[in-house]
Subunit: 147 residues, 10 copies
Amino acid sequence: MKREDVTDLILFRRVKLGVKWTDVAKKVGESKEWVTAACMGQMQMTKKQAEAVGKLFDLPEDAVLLLQTVPYKGSLPTAVPTDPLIYRWYEIVSVYGTTIKELIHEEFGDGIMSAIDFSMDIERQPDPKGDRVKVVLSGKFLPYRTY
Amino acid sequence: MKREDVTDLILFRRVKLGVKWTDVAKKVGESKEWVTAACMGQMQMTKKQAEAVGKLFDLPEDAVLLLQTVPYKGSLPTAVPTDPLIYRWYEIVSVYGTTIKELIHEEFGDGIMSAIDFSMDIERQPDPKGDRVKVVLSGKFLPYRTY
Amino acid sequence: MKREDVTDLILFRRVKLGVKWTDVAKKVGESKEWVTAACMGQMQMTKKQAEAVGKLFDLPEDAVLLLQTVPYKGSLPTAVPTDPLIYRWYEIVSVYGTTIKELIHEEFGDGIMSAIDFSMDIERQPDPKGDRVKVVLSGKFLPYRTY
Amino acid sequence: MKREDVTDLILFRRVKLGVKWTDVAKKVGESKEWVTAACMGQMQMTKKQAEAVGKLFDLPEDAVLLLQTVPYKGSLPTAVPTDPLIYRWYEIVSVYGTTIKELIHEEFGDGIMSAIDFSMDIERQPDPKGDRVKVVLSGKFLPYRTY
Amino acid sequence: MKREDVTDLILFRRVKLGVKWTDVAKKVGESKEWVTAACMGQMQMTKKQAEAVGKLFDLPEDAVLLLQTVPYKGSLPTAVPTDPLIYRWYEIVSVYGTTIKELIHEEFGDGIMSAIDFSMDIERQPDPKGDRVKVVLSGKFLPYRTY
Amino acid sequence: MKREDVTDLILFRRVKLGVKWTDVAKKVGESKEWVTAACMGQMQMTKKQAEAVGKLFDLPEDAVLLLQTVPYKGSLPTAVPTDPLIYRWYEIVSVYGTTIKELIHEEFGDGIMSAIDFSMDIERQPDPKGDRVKVVLSGKFLPYRTY
Amino acid sequence: MKREDVTDLILFRRVKLGVKWTDVAKKVGESKEWVTAACMGQMQMTKKQAEAVGKLFDLPEDAVLLLQTVPYKGSLPTAVPTDPLIYRWYEIVSVYGTTIKELIHEEFGDGIMSAIDFSMDIERQPDPKGDRVKVVLSGKFLPYRTY
Amino acid sequence: MKREDVTDLILFRRVKLGVKWTDVAKKVGESKEWVTAACMGQMQMTKKQAEAVGKLFDLPEDAVLLLQTVPYKGSLPTAVPTDPLIYRWYEIVSVYGTTIKELIHEEFGDGIMSAIDFSMDIERQPDPKGDRVKVVLSGKFLPYRTY
Amino acid sequence: MKREDVTDLILFRRVKLGVKWTDVAKKVGESKEWVTAACMGQMQMTKKQAEAVGKLFDLPEDAVLLLQTVPYKGSLPTAVPTDPLIYRWYEIVSVYGTTIKELIHEEFGDGIMSAIDFSMDIERQPDPKGDRVKVVLSGKFLPYRTY
Amino acid sequence: MKREDVTDLILFRRVKLGVKWTDVAKKVGESKEWVTAACMGQMQMTKKQAEAVGKLFDLPEDAVLLLQTVPYKGSLPTAVPTDPLIYRWYEIVSVYGTTIKELIHEEFGDGIMSAIDFSMDIERQPDPKGDRVKVVLSGKFLPYRTY
């Protein structure tokens, strides 16, 4: 059994049981974004978190163990994603990439926005012209060191 | 003269003049995110916007004209960006891609978050442990049609 | 069981039973284009649609469940398709890509033709010099927002 | 001077003169789709067509000559297009590729829809919920020969 | 069972039985080139052809059924083939590609040589300096339409 | 001046002068296929051949010299060609690749059809249903050595 | 069973039995280079050779049969090899490629060194500063034909 | 002026002057393989070597200086070479890669054949059936360290 | 059983047993860096080392045998790694690549830092601002030979 | 003038003047690693640093200005580097990638070694068996946040 098998198992059981990610998140006690990512094989769970997930989805003991290891990250099958929802995010990076770079450097100087000390919040933004997806990304600014 | 030459010209003159993107934005009268993207060759300007930019950077008439055309979008030289700041965004899409997909579908059903009817806001989030980059993305949810 | 397994099962049973896609479409109550795409693992079915398909092809219960999930879209094994029929469509995008861009922008301004709020109709166009394939694509125009 | 230089020249002069593609088409006497594609370096013009274009844009004699040669076709800089408008078409091929294949084969048997004996018509489809881009593609069906 | 499995089965049984492709062709009643391609999963067989192949190789009923479906074409595992015999053909396209283009356009004008309304004949050409492979390709010329 | 510049020069002068490749071939005294390939920068000319070409197109002395060097071969800008005429040849290799391999091996045993000791002949094949392009390829069979 | 399975079987049995490639070569009666390549799935064996290998490794009858077929050649999983030993050879081609081209053309004129009528000999070259790998490659020169 | 410009200059002057690489090698006092590689921009020359080359080809002073810098190595424009002569070498690595690996490891244990402490000798091998290219490669064996 | 299966087995058993790599290293008697690499399928073990690992993880006899073979090296599934920890190393090569080249050449002349006669030491570097990862790489300098 | 032009200018002037990177570093007052990277277009200089470099290499004013902008980072022309010295580093990442991941996670838990809050030191390590390149990398450990 490998970590990917655990992801497949969780995905199938979730559909089978009709459980929502927000419910999984509540059981684990962290945000829906982090918990979903962890279940998708992108984050390492603590023993307690893994056991909560294991109980919810009736996972075998080995699966619970694997949830506590650090996975090989990257969730997409191709460098340029084919799924339209995910592609739109790739497109934002492609179209706005140099813009984001210019504006962060203007505000903070040379450095990056961390994808590690990072959090994300996805929510519905009601709008009479059609509801919107509002996503808040927050990443620590890390300046390049001169040495 | 091509649109890319206009981008190069603006980039160089901006450094030369020491003008900030936020100042360019004020002259144009739109957000700093949209205006920077437009200057980087990713958005089409109106005549008025183009003339404001042309005046600020003392651009030749042809350049002002080209700013009013629709550019061939995509600002990165490679499919996987090499620049660390931009790569972190690509990494977020790679690591969180399937998570974002799961959560938007859970909330909205099948469809996408638009990258066209879209806006972005980048700002400094003061934090005692190190300031953070806070980015708010807002895209209209577009449901797949059944027909 | 994964969504791709359901696609394989449907494809094989369809050949076995000698059922036409137009017949599947009638059972589901939507266009042949949408229903085929849904069976090929590109669209999410409602419970009722999935059950109709499940009944027609005698699918196991898990398969019917999976038809109601949102699939990871993209139906081709390579970025440039090798199958001649599908390649011709890729070729149309390659040869006419910039032309389509020019003409849509000329008529509508900057923006895109939606591939989400979209429908397609494929039919035979009788012609004495050899029948033709007539395809009508209809996608909502989505203008870029200035913000 | 090469054919690509002629394309660049036409593109720039068109913006400069404020001429619409539909006007170019009228001068040439063919559809706006074919004429635009020809100007974009994807089709070969006759002497008469080339001279009409040459006169409209005041092209040098060599350019008029080059418009009468057969170009090396393919209008996109990358295999997967980065421009959002053109990408949506690539996405349609990616998402609906196997669907289109199934339906054309169901109707016609094994073969392809020609991209050579082909025409395209792009027009505005008024819609109270937002106007749509309607595209009609017509390609001769070419059956595979058994020999 | 999928179409590729049928190809594998035929390939193995052919070696096992020591049957030649020319013999398979005789049983099917078409050229060795077309019949081999069909067995390799590149062409659709009629019921009669499939049954002849099924009988010769003692294929299961499902396999005979699958031979009558239209396959997803493209027989190579990589875009640039690694097998030396096949690579030499790729090399001919690479080295002579622009030459072939020039000469066909000179003789016929703009258009293509069809790979659909196409036939191939491979035979031994005796030669005192070493026998040669002689291949005759015949494809209908298809002119680009002006519309 | 590089060899590619000589190719560009020949291509432009040929259009300018309205000379046919078959005429160039006559001046050089070899087949139209070989001569065109040589002019396209894929073959090395002798002094006499180069001078004939130089005279015809009024090339500078350096160009005539460069025609006598061995070029870096490969005439296509991308691994998978975008030009439809050339792509059809790539498609033949893709669809028929394993078939060609099987049939040559069946006739000759393990080895290849040479792309070096090779000749090609392209001609019009009149046909009431539409003229065809007939291409005869002849390559020496080279058996793999056991050692 | 496929040819790759035979390779895997031979590789595992060889380790298990502790047999050296030079010993395999002696049993087969050809050079260690050719015999190893044949066992690795790159060359076609005669019945006698295949039986010798089959006996040595106690292969099933089907495997012995498959050793007598012509394999699809190319032994590497990626276009640019990751294994350091094999990469060094790729590096030699990359660094010395144009040099090899210049020197062979200078000595022989336009043409290639055959990789088919080819042999290789790998041996230890004792050296006080550290033993060296000496490899002798011998390929027939094949001149390009003018026709 | 960059190092690549020096390579271009040498290549052109060599053709112009009709100098052979073996003559260049004699002037420099090293093997024709090393000297050609150095001229092709793959090796660093000493002051004396650079001046010899500079004198022979009448290079400007800056070029002589650049010949003494360490170049960015790699002489091919694509990862898989298109030139047939160079491709045959790539093919040898592809077909014989795993064989070479097996045999060197059998003789020497784990490690590599150095491409740095390396020499190559290319010569004509007369043969009544057609002369051959004989290449001797000699690279120091470097064992992996256990630490 | 293949070498990759042994790696999977070790990885799973290690998690199951809760053994640390530093403990594995002690049992084997080499550094943690080398031993982990060997377990990950990148180094060849001696009989004694393999048996120590086999005992620790209760591996089957065949696995112990395979640990003593030379593996096909390269531990990453894609050319550009997607895992953030490993990507940072790729990024260091990308950003600092030319810098490293300049400085090693300045100090040592033309040549390379060996990745074969190489060792690595990874340790925690306590730091009040946040502990650091300190990595010491040591590779023999290998000068290019002139010959 | 663009940032890449400044890099080219510095590289050429450095050779011309015979200045060592260690001398440039002294003038700038930072480590040779950082200063070289900054000159190679990978780091942003302060006004003072840029002026020191500008004075040393007699750069035009615009170049001094550009040295103070944040560059688009990534110094290599291809994703897999062809230069042997730089490739060895890529190889270390490829061979040891999963090992480095295992050991850092074992010591620190899930997270990365920063390539931003990072320093590198390259020095000669005298060794009787041949001097070695010793490189010390130090990057802050950044733990993944749970949120």
